[in-house]
């Protein structure tokens, strides 16, 4: 079975859950014998290895091919990179930030192609919606040039590309909803984004959601028939910590960690309020808010006004190994998200032997048993859970042991097999 997959990001350039999830899933699929995955990503960052890039036809859209081999996988995953300045992020705000920080001279210019799409040749608008449209045109070119049985598009930015590929090839389209604009915006979806999301959902023969929480949103907010929507839970990439040297803590205090974008969606303010309550009762604890985001300054001011800055630390954005170091230092991991379609990070924490507290408004809460689940607004319950884990050692050890067992069972292979099962049903129905 050959799959043409449209995504946003691919390692090593991952900035969020979407990249991690689509990568994990693809890897899981490539491990299945008769699966052939072609992964398309918009070219976003200039620091990728340019030696590997190959151009196809001067009169065409500059499409580059790259073969990546992963350890333990039989077949190479073919990764096609499209030159475009589409940012691998889903939030228009972030897009603006990235665009404004780049100098004009570095921009890549896409040549006019023979299909006569001259509208954007030589012109590069700082408009995300234009980018998406451009991506969709390129997608149709790719669809023409490649052989495949099914199209799989990850999240709204790739839906138009998926639709275009579907129209050119006549092959069935499956879309994968990692988040909706209702999650990102805190309830007020952007009408343009909503339109694109809805168009994708309507065009697709099958919609995969990452949780039942998201499935309900798709059904209720986008008016999609429930039969068309199926949940495939995410998993977590298994990391072996045995070889790592132990991280030494420079102090005796316990550490409670929030790790993620500091935005409305992630509920950082509830973490601060809960921290304040805990600090009133105990002293030997420190709180860490790792990450950046538009609410960071506000959070710092809040911590200052609560006079807890000596115990409440901000680390800024953490990358790669730092994330694991942070987790190794932590005694509790907390994810108080207001709306989280899935949330892979608590799984990573559990893997690092850290007990987790998650909000009931997260998709991952649907599959986890050995985690404290509270409502995101329930600061009292959150504070109580933090206190309980830090003060009752039996509780922490129980969470760590059972959490580890639980998280080991969540494998991308299983998710991949589930997706393949969906493909089969879609193709045989045709």
């Amino acid at each position: 079975m050959r799959v043409l997959m449209f995504g946003w990001e691919f390692p090593p350039h991952i900035s969020g859950g979407l990249g991690t999830a689509s990568y994990g899933l693809t890897k899981g699929m490539a491990a299945i014998d008769d699966m052939e995955v072609t992964f398309v990503v918009p070219k976003a960052w200039g620091d990728e290895d340019q030696d590997m890039v190959r151009l196809i036809g001067a009169n065409k859209v500059p499409v580059t091919f790259k073969k990546i081999y992963y350890k333990g996988i039989r077949r190479p995953i073919e990764k096609i990179e499209v030159f475009s300045k589409i940012v691998p992020y889903t939030d228009p705000d972030d897009y603006w930030k990235i665009v404004s920080s780049e100098s004009l001279g570095k921009r890549l210019i896409i040549q006019t192609n023979e299909m006569g799409v001259t509208d954007f040749s030589g012109r590069y608008d700082n408009n995300l919606l234009d980018e998406i449209y451009k991506y969709s045109v390129i997608a149709s070119v790719i669809a023409e040039e490649n052989e495949f049985d099914i199209i799989h598009a990850h999240d709204w930015l790739t839906y138009p590309a998926g639709i275009a590929a579907m129209e050119v090839s006549g092959k069935p389209l499956v879309i994968h909803v990692h988040a909706t604009d209702f999650d990102r915006s805190g309830g007020n979806a952007n009408p343009d984004v909503y339109r694109i999301e809805k168009a994708g959902m309507e065009a697709a023969v099958k919609i995969i959601t990452v949780s039942n929480l998201t499935r309900d949103i798709v059904i209720n907010k986008y008016n999609i028939h429930p039969d068309k929507v199926e949940t495939v839970y995410n998993a977590v990439e298994h990391v072996d910590f045995s070889g790592d040297q132990e991280v030494k803590k420079g102090f005796d205090d316990k550490v409670v960690t929030f790790l993620g974008r500091i935005t409305l969606q992630k509920g950082p303010e509830y973490f601060i309020e809960a921290a304040y309550k805990v600090l009133k009762a105990m002293n030997n604890v420190r709180f860490v808010m790792a990450g950046t985001g538009d609410m960071m300054e506000r959070m710092m001011r809040r911590a200052a006004s609560l006079k807890i800055t000596d115990r409440f630390h901000f680390t800024g954005f953490l990358k790669g190994k730092d994330v694991y170091t942070m987790l190794a230092l932590s005694d509790v991991y907390i994810m108080p998200s207001v709306s989280e379609p899935f949330g892979i990070s608590p799984l990573e924490a559990m893997q690092s032997s850290v007990p987790v507290i998650i909000s009931k408004q997260s998709g991952v809460a649907e599959i986890l048993t050995h985690a404290v689940k509270t409502d995101f607004w329930d600061i009292d319950a959150m504070a109580d859970a933090i206190y309980g884990i830090l003060n009752y050692p039996a509780l922490a050890s129980m969470f760590i042991r059972n959490g580890m067992e639980e998280v080991i069972r969540l494998k991308w292979d299983n998710s991949a097999r589930h997706v393949r099962d969906i493909y089969e049903r879609v193709i045989w129905k045709k």
């Binding site: 009292d380 504070a383 206190y387």
Partner: protein, 521 residues
């Protein structure tokens, strides 16, 4: 043997409701010493009383009257449920009292707080049993002669303790793994002390009523009293004793009235008496009438809970063990404490239900556990319980310090309190003196304007005389003080020289006032 022809059936119902804890957050520690969820305790008790206890007691009363001496039942009411009846449903307690008066009902002894003390501490256990005996005597008016432990928990040692306390028989589960090829349908005796008879629950026959009665996919559904009596009569040739032990809530609560459970109860004794050779007996009667066939060896604890019939429902994971350890660590301190409310809390905190809520086995036995559980997860249950227990410990330490440090703290606390009182006294004095001073100064300020040529000397004298005369009657009302000062002023203006002698005194007084102000600071 004379016992050969005698066959007994023993119907036993357990009555218990826990005192559920309210949501107790850690920031309540040390402030809030009330732990119970009154709303749910009361509403659940009222609900169960209406749906189960009252209607079932009424039926049992009618059955006793109808079958004269032939129908007998056995109950065990935990001390906790008796207290709940007293609080929320006194009419239920009254109806049990009336049942007790018929003489056809035996009430069993158990631990007062439905606790797991038998697994931990003999003295604790014996104390609680004694407490419960007294409670049953007080509130139901009967003496107890047979015993059942919390959740039918039993092992050889517990049995021997119970025998030493003078009980005739004990009830427990006819667990497959201890019986092996043996049948539960005979009377056994304790392996250590054979004087204690052991009645084993026939779990197949019991669970037919408890769990399967309203299950429509069960092949024997619907179960009628006649059908059940036929099964019993089939057992008759190979049994002497049939023990049907149930939660009393089986009637009307676990199986709703609509399932016909009350009709079943109503017709069961008649059907059994008519169709089978079994006679209704209570455990103490059984112990006197029947001969035990052999001793039963139970080296490790059994109970009537879940598939395993062991104690893992309460002490199966490290959360439960940690909480259990913590709880009984406090028992020494509690025994030294004589605060009434704390004794009650200690009792209620021991209730086995709190540990049941922390069971992580709910993955396999989920349905039953979830049904009785006020918490969403076992972790939740543990955290809440530990918070409550921590507060309880704080109170205990305040009451009876045990480490040197705590004693020191308590001592210092006392000292601080005493000093606080002294400071308060002195502050009041200072205030009084200050008031006087301002009053006097206020008056003095007016005088120069009036008189025009009053000298400093005169003022000093005025002050002296005022304070000299004012000091002794401290409690004099301010109204009279004012008048006095006015009088004094007039007189002192003329007799200036006469009162120089008093100066020294007042100066001293002033200095003491200043000193006490310093202390305050």
């Amino acid at each position: 043997m004379s016992t050969a022809g005698k066959k007994a059936i023993c119907l036993y119902f357990q009555v218990h409701q826990p005192f559920r804890l309210k949501r107790y957050r850690f920031f309540d520690l040390g402030h809030d010493h009330y732990y119970y969820d009154d709303f749910s305790n009361e509403s659940i008790m009222r609900k169960v009383a209406q749906k189960c206890y009252l209607p079932a007691n009424k039926i049992i009363m009618e059955l006793i009257q109808k079958h004269k001496e032939k129908f007998k039942v056995t109950f065990s009411l935990s001390g906790i449920v008796i207290n709940q009846f007293r609080l929320y449903a006194p009419e239920v307690l009254e109806s049990f009292r009336q049942l007790a008066q018929t003489g056809m009902v035996e009430f069993l002894s158990e631990t007062d707080s439905h606790s797991l003390a038998s697994l931990r501490n003999r003295t604790q256990f014996e104390q609680q049993v004694q407490l419960h005996r007294e409670m049953v005597k007080t509130y139901l008016g009967v003496e107890t002669t047979s015993f059942r432990n919390t959740e039918l928990i039993y092992n050889d040692t517990i049995g021997s303790w119970v025998a030493d306390m003078g009980f005739k028989s004990i009830l427990t589960e006819g667990a497959k793994h201890i019986l092996g090829w043996k049948s539960p349908n005979y009377l056994y005796c304790n392996a250590i002390n054979p004087r204690l008879k052991v009645l084993l629950r026939n779990f197949v026959m019991s669970d037919d009523i408890a769990f399967r009665f309203s299950n429509k996919s069960w092949s024997a559904w619907p179960l009628t009293a006649d059908k059940y009596a036929t099964w019993i009569s089939k057992l008759a040739p190979k049994s002497e004793l049939l023990n049907i032990f149930l939660d009393y809530e089986t009637f009307g609560e676990h199986n709703w009235k609509e399932t016909g459970i009350f009709d079943f109860l109503q017709h069961l004794p008649g059907a059994i008496l008519k169709k089978t050779p079994f006679k209704f007996m209570t455990p103490s009667e059984v112990a006197e009438t029947l001969q035990p066939v052999s001793a039963i060896n139970v080296p490790s604890s059994i109970s009537w809970a879940d598939e395993e019939r062991d104690i893992t429902a309460w002490l199966g994971n490290e959360l439960q063990l940690a909480a259990f350890e913590k709880l009984y660590e406090l028992s020494d301190k509690v025994s030294r404490c004589n605060d009434e409310q704390m004794r009650i809390d200690w009792e209620y905190l021991q209730s086995s239900d709190h540990f049941y809520y922390m069971a992580t086995k709910f993955f396999s036995d989920g349905a039953v556990h979830a049904y009785f559980n006020p918490y969403e997860t076992p972790y939740d249950a543990f955290m809440n319980y530990m918070n409550v227990l921590s507060d309880f410990e704080i109170r205990l330490n305040r009451q009876s310090p045990d480490t040197h440090e705590q004693r020191q703290i308590l001592k210092l606390d006392k000292q601080i309190l005493e000093k606080d009182l002294v400071i308060e006294k002195l502050t009041a004095e200072i205030q009084k003196l200050n008031e006087k001073r301002t009053k006097i100064l206020g008056e003095d300020l007016i005088i120069p304007e009036k008189g025009g040529k009053t000298s400093l000397k005169d003022l000093a004298h005025k002050l002296i005389t005022v304070s000299a005369e004012e000091q002794p009657p401290r409690n004099a009302s301010s109204g009279t003080k004012k008048e006095k000062t006015k009088i004094v002023k007039k007189t002192t203006a003329k007799k200036t020289t006469a009162k120089k002698a008093t100066t020294g005194k007042t100066v001293k007084k002033k200095s003491t006032a200043v000193k006490s102000r310093k202390i305050k600071k």
